[in-house]
Symmetry: C3
């Protein structure tokens, strides 16, 4: 059978995306309908890198569906410390459970797992690469709070360079009609060239600014991000950047009444806690919506009611991925797989981490 | 709605205390009646400081009620390590679960959490400050084993200075009629002044002694305690104190046939293992009763069948708590809250850790 | 009542062994029949030494039966770090749960636990001593894959000296009719004398060889083992031994079409990953069968449908076990128990770790 995995949303057709959003919205209104739908089923949460929030969100989703959880959140405690390969661990888990969620510090880990697993794989973050369920959470939040995914002015503020959730959300929102993006960042952390190229090719309008105030009164959505220490090589640059954008009650005083403020969380200090009390702040509601999005995803995957296209990859013995953070660098069992770049057919991408290979 | 939290038993009226004891006793006789009452509900166990016994006791209670558990027992694995505040973690968990249990090394942590949580909070120990569910366990054990909470002679032996469970149990027992307390300790670890003052004000009779034998034949209850290494600043004093009181079969030879020996556990060597075989030893039964007490508490909280008075606190911008172990010292989101001291209206108490502020 | 524990299979009668195999086989065909049979029951997984694979296998088994799990996999997080004895921890857990699984780095830990537990104890590995549920998994795998446990030629390859699962499996297979053993190992890691003596006494035929190829074409079963780094005192010897036997597709080219290759897992490099694709490789199926074996064991223990003989042990105050890895060396609460050696009545065995005492 053609097994479905949620590794990357970039090739997700809008029809399938809407299936998840619609079911998530339905569950939000009344999830008792789905209570017991996963009874006697097991979700395995494989957190090779700890992320309490994401793990608890998935565990909660599975429990709310009547299912159960097994897993680990500390690689040093797994058989890997006995020299087992990543792919053998994946095969082991797929012998025990019905569905698996993977979080890993190396890019492409979930993709590699999908080639060895006998059960559906959900990517819960592979290094700085992808985190599709965060994007589904964000889309569902916008849909629940604004009743639409079209005709929106969406501001993104903070680290737009390293923020994987930002890139993924932009790509997905560009599938919908007439959305306009405002990118608020310093020059150091501005949105990458490939995203701008992507938006140009899809005729999406966007504006870049260093000012948090310039377009505030136009925004329907403000997506704040955390400056992630762990994504910086240099401590100096981190310290120089970290306090550049801090959202306060004053800053949103002249914004639209209907503005909704999102944040993937956790936050450090980029949003003043007094903003929490403002009805425009929906980032804590967003956590609940994240559970609904994951419940929808689990139901659709387990009932095989979703079809996900798989990018055509081919093996090249004489090529290797040069991304030092790619899983293929450390996993012997990973075949050397590549695919054609979406923009330039003469360039290759690593099938696991999407790194450009010339 | 007026949300109920179990942070501190000190202002608990006897009526509400009896509700928990009565239901615990009912559950002990037949808990199958409550089996499934928490179905599809989630208890979150937030152990910022590990305590396997307490965590497993709560998890067991929830499972016996048909419910489920999520949580963590290792702060280094939580988002806190990404710089998230304690209160944001609380808000996150309250978006996922229906009830939360908190264990923390800082005093006042559960109280602070109760101000930010949308779901009931149960204090499972905040540093050396409070541990209400241990006290409920002790009360239920006494009630089950002696069929009464009145007219008892109760001996407390060991560390009466630092033992928070001892102080809390004494206060609760003083609400019942005609109980007499025997405090057995060295001068270094004797019962604190504020407890003696409390007993005097409530006209409760008590006696202090350094001898384990002097009143042994009068006791209905002997509550043994562990000399807790972690509560001592000086290793010298710990070593000098730790073996002062060791209960043996000989020591209870001339005690009442109906004597019941309790211990909060874990024990080190303060009770000889041969005493375990004696029917007077009920400290392992006490573990089972602890599950019943927690089951009763969960049922009452979730069905909103209990009413807990909240001490009136007020904000004072110019005051700060001077207790170095108070959560308010590290949590920026904690307002500077205080309340009037119960004995001296001119003295303030920190609302979180009850420390005296002059 | 006479409580049943699964600590050691060595004295297990074939009748009881078959009960587990038969039920495991029945469950494999349709375990929905047993779904909910453990509802509201709690399995405690006490992993004093981490072993993700074994823990997840037991948790999965309990969940598939409709039951629940509590436990720990990190001793530093348990009350033991507060100075609690192992046996007090066992008593605590038996107050909370219905069945317990113990993994410990010290030999005899599960046996000691069985003397203090009020609920059935399953040994999930005590140091290099015993691991009965792995043996049950292996037997069930052989039965499912060959439809028999008799008249087989079984090859064992790798570390036959330290591999506890190998010794236990050989003993159990010797209970069945007309099985022949081929021991493939270097001289350093050859099968121990006591196993050869055991086979001689039971008139079982066996052959020893250093060649992986010599008997390959005769084998019905090939049981591969990992050279376990943790079992070697000397790194030099480990490195010299670790790559001696590596199974490849070529090596099994002239083997019987019906050959089945087993491995307890995890593997390091002793089986080339290309062998995984060969239908003769059943070591990943073996993981699923391990769940069925554990489900069968849990059902039989909880429904008290199995009778396990207990070796007669006696206390000798003046004797002590001299095995430095024996639990009796560190646990004060462990009585000095011994039993007569099965081969030489003048020799004693430690009741916990079976070490020979002269």
């Amino acid at each position: 059978m053609n097994l479905n995995h949620i590794v990357d949303l970039s090739e997700f057709p809008i029809t399938e995306l809407n299936k998840i959003i619609d079911l998530g919205y339905k569950i939000k209104k009344d999830y008792n309908f789905y209570f017991k739908s996963m009874e006697n089923n097991i979700l395995a949460t494989l957190f090779f890198e700890p992320s309490t929030r994401t793990m608890l969100s998935f565990e909660t989703a599975m429990i709310r569906l009547g299912g159960n959880n097994i897993g680990f959140d500390n690689p040093s405690k797994t058989s890997i410390s006995k020299g087992e390969s990543f792919t053998d661990t994946i095969k082991t888990i797929s012998a025990y459970s019905d569905l698996m969620v993977i979080r890993h510090s190396l890019e492409g880990a979930a993709k590699l797992a999908s080639y060895f697993s006998d059960i559906p794989v959900i990517n819960a973050g592979d290094g700085g690469h992808l985190h599709p369920t965060q994007t589904l959470t964000d889309l569902l939040t916008i849909y629940i709070e604004t009743k639409s995914l079209n005709n929106l002015v969406i501001g993104f503020c903070g680290d737009l360079k390293n923020g994987r959730t930002v890139h993924s959300l932009i790509k997905s929102l560009s599938l919908y009609k007439n959305n306009k993006f405002i990118f608020i960042s310093t020059d150091t952390l501005k949105i990458p060239k490939y995203i701008r190229r992507f938006l140009d090719q899809n005729n999406c309008s966007y504006t870049e600014t260093v000012s948090m105030d310039e377009y505030m009164n136009e925004l329907d959505i403000l997506y704040m991000t955390r400056i992630q220490k762990e994504r910086f090589e240099s401590k100096v640059i981190y310290n120089q950047e970290k306090d550049k954008y801090i959202l306060t009650t004053e800053k949103i005083s002249n914004s639209k009444k209907s503005l909704k403020i999102l944040h993937p969380l956790p936050r450090t200090n980029e949003i003043d806690i007094n903003v929490d009390l403002n009805e425009k702040a929906v980032y804590f509601k967003q956590l609940k919506y994240g559970v609904y999005a994951r419940m929808a995803l689990i139901v659709l995957l387990m009932h095989d009611n979703i079809t996900i296209p798989i990018s055509k990859a081919f093996e090249l013995e004489n090529k290797i991925c040069i991304n030092p953070k790619c899983i293929s660098q450390v996993e012997k069992s990973a075949k050397k797989l590549f695919k054609k770049d979406k923009f330039d057919k003469n360039i290759l991408n690593c099938d696991y981490c999407d790194y450009l290979i010339y």
